[in-house]
């Protein structure tokens, strides 16, 4: 973790290979995290995430001022997300980093920007750890925003 990362709140120590495998596993229906994508033409679309990579998928779609390629915006309860990362996914360090990086008093789109930065950082760590260790691919591919067109 660099001093700059720490100052930005996105600094997290890399996971071990066992941790990376555990945190990127696909969860079941009962363990899901729900969020909403508000699409400009239709309203809120409720959808579910089954791993941090799913949350990242929606975060990575957001461009610029909070709207994405489709004119959508996310409704994510950051507190609830943090709790899910910590207690369901089990990545306490990740949750702590989110807590440091996201300022609840910022405008919501700014909060999403911060959240995105932490997610990119952590998901790339997952991927790096698994790759460097020559481990088998994670159950659910990890992107961290670097390969947005790939399929699961």
């Amino acid at each position: 973790m660099t001093a700059l990362e720490d100052a930005m709140g996105v600094g997290i120590d890399p996971p071990t290979i066992l941790e990376a495998r555990h945190y990127t596993r696909q969860l079941g229906w009962e363990e899901r995290f729900d969020l909403a994508v508000e699409v400009s033409r239709v309203g809120n679309i409720n959808t579910s995430c089954y791993c941090p990579q799913d949350v990242a998928r929606y975060l990575m779609q957001q461009h610029g001022v909070g709207i994405d390629l489709h004119g959508s915006r996310l409704h994510v309860d950051v507190d609830r997300l943090n709790e899910w990362i910590e207690s369901v996914v089990g990545d306490v360090a990740f949750a702590a980093a989110i807590g440091r990086a996201v300022n609840p008093s910022d405008p919501f789109f700014s909060q999403l920007d911060s959240l995105r930065a932490v997610f990119v950082r952590r998901l790339n760590q997952y991927q790096d750890t698994l790759t460097e260790q020559g481990a088998a691919a994670a159950e659910v591919p990890i992107r961290g925003g670097v390969d947005p067109g790939a399929s699961r």
Partner: protein, 686 residues
């Protein structure tokens, strides 16, 4: 006889007998055009209005309006298309519309409206050229997608002329020449296979999608109708029309040298570019593209690409798989939907199926057996291509089930009761996808449940929901405070009461709110659906990016001035609303004949019992002040909604006990024969 705004003739083609009849438009002058004209024609010419959508007796009406084919901004391009819907549950008399070039082409070919009934023995298409109607074999076209079909027809009608070249429209020296490609409305494989989500398509991306009328064409063995001609549309005062057009363009258009187009919502404050159908251009990369507009419009909201993929994509189609992380896949899906002729508004279907998959209910060999559909590829274009192909061709039992519409399929799978109660199947009424939250933005839900389909009218939605929410999220100052917004809408709608726009827990049941819902129904029935104003450009109550100092727009003033300039007839704003009421009441009479009763006007269970859990910013008057409420924990109260129905029916002049129009109301509107028909059927309100 041609009159100002009308070319004077209406056609009725019976595909069963091959007969063609023509009628004078003048007889229907009181219904003006679009939905009003189409519904009056349906009333007169659909002998049994209770038949199944796929019965040969179903009548499809394509109706232009006086503005069609002129350069009235936002209204010069649209046709209204009506008939018994194959999609809705039950199959109501319903509507859809499209822009592009079709309305102008139809009038240039000599007709204000075009009706089709019966069923052809073999696949056919109809060619209309300068008033001449011919039914031609479509055996060679059956199976083609909508783009291939149009190209094939263009080649026949233009006699192989290249784009932009002149071609003769007849065989004599004086039969006329044009460079305009025929305006073609057609179906793709989905319509041929009677898929209830199928559309009628025109050009690359114009589609009439929400009523399953593509499948009705398919049931008639009708592949396409092509309109071509050299006719013109006479307007009463061309100079006045030109002046109004330029005035509107100055106030609402954009400077081509410094484009800053307002998408009507606050998104327009952030995305100021023509061709905003895909809303941001960030993801377009190096793909060359340009804005594209419908006939007569200066907004140019659609976009065409150098590689043609996703051309003219718009509305729900452009976000069909809103979860796609790249716009390339999104553009490919747009093309696929349009080529197969499938409704982009069924965008929740793949999401619902994925949810069932994660629940362990749907998948290969599971309770909902999706056969070879690979959910591991859910976030990819390959998944969508496989799913939509199965749907369009009714591939396998799963594709066949889906092709009946998702709600019918869930009933067959035994999922409907549970999933519409929990809300994972958010289809609140008549089998239609949720479109804005029915527990909060009740213009949509009330309007849809007392109507025939999802209303799909954004006129108030931009200001009460999108603008404040987007500004709050972005942390930018909204152009208007909540109180100013309520006052602005009260003034713009001429309702003169800001409480009409209170979406609070109490406000959604108030008399003032019902007045606004009533206004919305009547206004939309006339100006949007009968005069063809496009929902994505009109009514533009406020133009944030105006090049003038005046950012508020008196739409009502423009509307009646345009009406006068084109038709030569005086029409007050109030009279236009009364016409909207009359048209809506005739609709209601048809639905009554089809079995409508107030007891049927009930939402899916989740609307009443599942509280909202995600923020839904909406204008509200709470604790003595105007604010933007997040509207969390909201449900619709069942008993209070029943009371809403009673009061709304009373406002409309319908029987509160049944929801059927009364004789007094119908006779006051000059619709005595409609009252007689309802009485004969035992469906006249007391």
């Amino acid at each position: 006889m041609a009159t100002y705004g009308h070319v004077g003739k209406i056609a009725l083609v019976d595909l069963g007998t091959g007969s063609v009849e023509e009628f004078e438009t003048e007889k229907y002058e009181q219904w003006v055009g679009g939905h009003g004209l189409a519904t009056a024609l349906f009333w007169d010419h659909c002998k049994d209005k209770t038949v199944d959508a796929f019965d040969p007796g179903n009548l499809v009406v394509i109706a232009s309006n006086p503005f069609s084919g002129t350069f009235v901004p936002a209204a010069g391009a649209r046709v209204e298309i009506t008939g018994i819907s194959s999609y809705s549950i039950p199959q109501w008399y319903s509507r859809s519309s499209m822009g592009g070039r079709l309305a102008g082409a139809m009038k240039q070919s000599g007709f204000d409206a075009f009706m089709v009934t019966g069923k052809a023995a073999e696949p056919v298409w109809i060619s209309v050229v300068n008033g001449e109607i011919s039914i031609q074999s479509a055996k060679e076209m059956w199976g083609l997608d909508t783009w291939e079909t149009q190209k094939a027809i263009w080649s026949v009608v233009t006699r192989g002329a290249q784009d932009g070249d002149w071609y003769d429209t007849g065989d004599t020296r004086d039969s006329g020449r044009t460079t305009q490609k025929p305006g073609v409305i057609c179906i793709g494989p989905a319509g041929e296979n009677l898929v209830r989500q199928s559309t009628l398509n025109h050009d690359a991306g114009h589609a009439a999608g929400q009523s399953g009328l593509g499948a009705v064409f398919g049931s008639k063995n009708l592949k396409a109708i092509s309109f071509s001609g050299t006719g013109s549309i006479t307007v009463a005062d061309p100079a006045a029309l030109y002046d109004i057009r330029m005035e509107m363009q100055e106030q609402m258009g954009y400077d081509p040298d410094d484009p800053a187009v307002e998408y009507q919502s606050s998104i327009g404050m952030l995305v100021k570019s023509p061709g905003w159908a895909y809303l941001t251009t960030d993801g377009l990369g190096s793909i060359a593209s340009r804005p594209e507009g419908c006939q007569g419009c200066f907004r140019n909201c659609r976009r065409n690409f150098d590689d043609s993929v996703g051309n003219e994509g718009y509305c729900a189609a452009s976000i069909y798989h809103a979860l796609y992380p790249d716009i390339g896949s999104s553009r490919k899906t747009v093309s696929l939907l349009n080529r197969l002729g499938l409704n982009g508004f069924d965008y929740l279907m793949p999401i619902y199926l994925y949810t069932l998959n994660m629940m362990g209910v749907a998948g290969p060999g599971l309770q909902v057996d999706t056969e070879d559909l690979d959910f591991a590829k859910y976030f990819s274009y390959q998944f969508m291509e496989h799913l939509l192909t199965k749907l369009a061709y009714r591939e396998g039992k799963f594709g066949d089930d889906l092709a009946e519409g998702l709600v019918r399929a869930t009933k067959k799978w035994g999922r409907f009761e549970e999933d519409s109660a929990t809300g994972i199947l958010p289809y609140p009424q008549w089998g239609y996808t949720e479109h804005y939250d029915p527990r909060i933005e009740v213009d949509w839900s009330y309007g849809s449940i007392i109507g025939e389909r999802d209303i799909n009218e954004h006129s108030l939605n931009y200001w009460v929901h999108h603008m404040p929410g987007m500004c709050k999220g972005a942390g930018i100052e909204p152009p208007f405070t909540p109180e100013e917004t309520a006052n602005l809408l009260a003034e713009a709608t001429h309702l003169d009461d800001p409480m009409c726009f209170d979406y609070s827990v109490e406000g959604i049941y108030s008399d003032a709110r019902l007045r606004a819902v009533q206004w919305h129904r009547h206004y939309s029935r006339f100006w949007m659906q009968s005069m063809g104003f496009c929902d994505f450009a009109w009514p533009m109550f406020v133009n944030i990016n105006s090049r003038t100092d005046n950012r508020t727009v008196d739409c009502a003033d423009y509307e009646v001035r345009l009406f006068k300039a084109v038709t030569g007839r005086d029409l007050t704003h109030q009279e236009s609303l009364e016409l909207g009421h009359k048209i809506f009441t005739l609709d209601r009479a048809i639905w009554s004949l089809q079995g409508r009763h107030r007891d049927l006007e009930v939402f899916s269970e989740y609307v009443y019992s599942v509280p909202t859990t995600n923020p839904y910013d909406c204008l509200a008057y709470e604790d003595g002040q105007w604010l933007i409420s997040q509207c969390l924990g909201r449900t619709l109260d069942r008993a209070r909604f029943e009371d809403v129905k009673t009061r709304f029916y009373t406002l409309e002049g319908w029987d509160p006990a049944t929801g059927w129009p009364t004789r007094a109301t119908l006779e006051e509107m000059g619709l005595t024969e409609v009252a007689d028909a309802l009485q004969a059927a035992g469906k006249l309100g007391a």
